[in-house]
């Protein structure tokens, strides 16, 4: 009886979570100021474990996702000799920013089933439910969304960019581009063995406009009339100032 209890006690950590992620970030918030021109975030961490290191090599996958929103993807086609927007598919939810970094090629580190369950790769992170009946190739629209955002550095796949040392310490760096949308950015870390997720960890990083940027944005949203009048006043004043300055110069 005593022996059986001991056995269960010893096996329990293996069954629940034998390895745990301890994560650190070079910064826990990103402030968008007037001179904001992108930012680098260093993500580093360690694997905490009670048992000895298993034989199978460890894989690490890290994702950073910006706030998600629906996106309308339009396609042009030729009608009467000119190029016109004809078809449109609404992608239900797509992150404004998405990075997947891993220790090796994604399919080696992560199995397809696990990818589906945790929505890790870019394809899976985008949710597209239904297209109108008239469109047979809705896949092309999702691909176009990924292609366009990838060209803008908004979607990045960094295979092999996570450095893992001694099966325990890992780090990677993520470049946030200048055209960033504000909101909560989610950072997920997955530890995998043989493509299976053995442990995961999630945290958020706060991306916010601050100072003048914050003030103007809030004013434009909440006091639209005042903001409009202010813009016009600035315009009229600037026009008058320039005119007066030139008149003085000529005299």
């Amino acid at each position: 009886m005593m022996m059986r209890w001991l056995l269960i006690f010893l096996l329990l950590p293996c069954l629940v979570q034998a390895e745990e992620v301890v994560l650190g970030l070079s910064r826990d918030r990103v402030a968008i100021t007037t001179s904001f021109d992108g930012s680098d975030i260093l993500i580093f961490g360690a694997v905490k474990r009670e048992a000895p290191i298993a034989e199978v090599p460890l894989g690490v996958v890290i994702t950073v996702a910006g706030p998600s929103a629906p996106v309308l993807v339009r396609r042009k086609s030729r009608e009467f000799g000119i190029w016109v927007n004809t078809d449109a598919v609404e992608v239900d939810l797509a992150p404004s920013f998405y990075v997947v970094a891993s220790t090796g090629p994604i399919r080696e580190v992560l199995s397809n089933v696990e990818d589906l369950r945790h929505k890790i790769s870019i394809d899976r992170a985008i949710r597209s439910v239904g297209a109108p009946d008239t469109i047979r190739d809705s896949r092309n629209f999702t691909n176009a969304l990924i292609r366009i955002r990838r060209n803008d550095d908004l979607y990045q796949e960094s295979e092999g960019k996570v450095v893992l040392a001694e099966q325990t310490l890992f780090r990677t760096s993520v470049k946030l581009p200048a055209n960033l949308v504000e909101g909560d950015y989610t950072i997920r870390t997955f530890l995998t063995r043989e493509g299976r997720v053995v442990s995961k960890h999630e945290t958020t990083i706060d991306v916010r406009k601050v100072g003048l940027e914050r003030w103007l944005y809030t004013l434009a949203q909440e006091q639209a009339m005042l903001y409009g009048l202010m813009s016009l006043a600035i315009a009229a004043l600037a026009g008058w100032l320039a005119s007066a300055a030139f008149a003085m110069l000529r005299r």
Binding site: W83, R214, A235, A236, G239
Partner: protein
């Protein structure tokens, strides 16, 4: 120097924006056009979202027009009476235009229609002005070589003089009915609301050819009414869509107001025919570019639009 724009939510080079504003300001002072048909496509090119580009350029046009119109006031080349009458028609027209715009939006394809509007109107106006400018230049040359002074005859038999409610416009040296100016203002107002521009490029030729105003007065008067039409547009965008980026506007207008002053100086040194030919060439260039975009296969067939946040 990169600067992050709070409403557009992109980071762009500040000097690039100053330069763009300056360039458009020069054109605005020279020709009396607001420059909306130039600055909006230029902003798209820099990477500003279209909705923000349209709304903010309206705001910047207010600034450069104020700057230019003050320069014209000092030279007494603004016909306030004519301007106010055009403006009355213009404001009614832009209200009507907003109504038409929203109707088109509800049936879809408003983008295409706006683009086609641009190509058609820029094409017609540009071509007419170009031909007329060349003819005028040739006439002036012939008159100079023959040593015979060109007598400016005013046609009093046209349709325009058949309307009632005649009024004297001293600055323009005209004695015509108020109905044609109101109609011109109304028509330009509708177009400017639909196309999202001040409408100077239509207003200027309309004043010259339809109302028979002298070119020197036309520019100041056109600028005078553009100020109010674009101010109206700015407010409409700020209140309904929150797409006016004041930081972007300030950068553009600092360049713009200086450019407008320089442009006014350049404009006064050029002959009326030369001004017309130059403006016509510019209008035709923009028209050609827009037409090509419609005709040639775009590099990326797909485009992204965010659905209301």
């Amino acid at each position: 120097m990169q600067i992050y724009l709070p409403i557009a939510e992109v980071s762009v080079n500040a000097f690039l924006l100053l330069g763009l504003g300056g360039l458009v300001g020069i054109l605005s002072g020279m020709f009396g056009v607001g420059g909306g048909f130039l600055i909006t496509p230029l902003l798209f090119f820099v990477g500003i979202p279209p909705a923000v580009a349209v709304a903010t350029s309206a705001n910047q046009i207010v600034a450069s027009s104020v700057s230019a119109v003050l320069a014209h006031f000092r030279r007494r080349t603004v016909d306030l009476k004519m301007g106010s009458i055009l403006l009355t028609g213009g404001l009614i027209g832009s209200l009507l235009g907003v109504f038409i715009f929203n109707y088109l939006k509800s049936i879809g394809q408003v983008d295409l229609l706006v683009r086609l509007c641009y190509v058609v109107f820029l094409g017609i106006v540009g071509a007419l002005m170009f031909v007329e400018g060349i003819n005028a230049a040739r006439r002036a040359k012939r008159a100079a070589t023959q040593g015979r002074p060109t007598v400016k005859r005013r046609d009093h038999s046209g349709l325009i003089h058949k309307f009632p409610f005649k009024m004297r416009f001293r600055t323009s040296g005209l004695y015509i009915s108020v109905i044609p100016p109101v109609l011109v203002g109304l028509f330009v107002g509708v177009l400017s609301a639909v196309m999202g521009v001040g409408g100077g490029f239509i207003m200027v030729p309309a004043m010259i050819y339809l109302l028979g105003m002298p070119t020197k007065v036309v520019i100041g008067t056109s600028l005078f009414q553009i100020i109010f039409v674009t101010a109206f547009t700015t407010m409409a965008h700020a209140v309904t869509n929150q797409t006016v980026d004041v930081v972007l506007a300030i950068l553009l207008l600092v360049g713009g107001v200086i450019g407008a002053q320089l442009g006014t100086q350049i404009g006064l040194r050029l002959k009326a025919e030369q001004l017309r030919i130059l403006l016509a060439t510019l209008v035709l260039l923009v028209c050609g570019k827009l037409a090509l975009e419609l005709l040639l296969q775009p590099g990326e067939l797909y485009s992204l639009t965010s659905v209301a946040r």
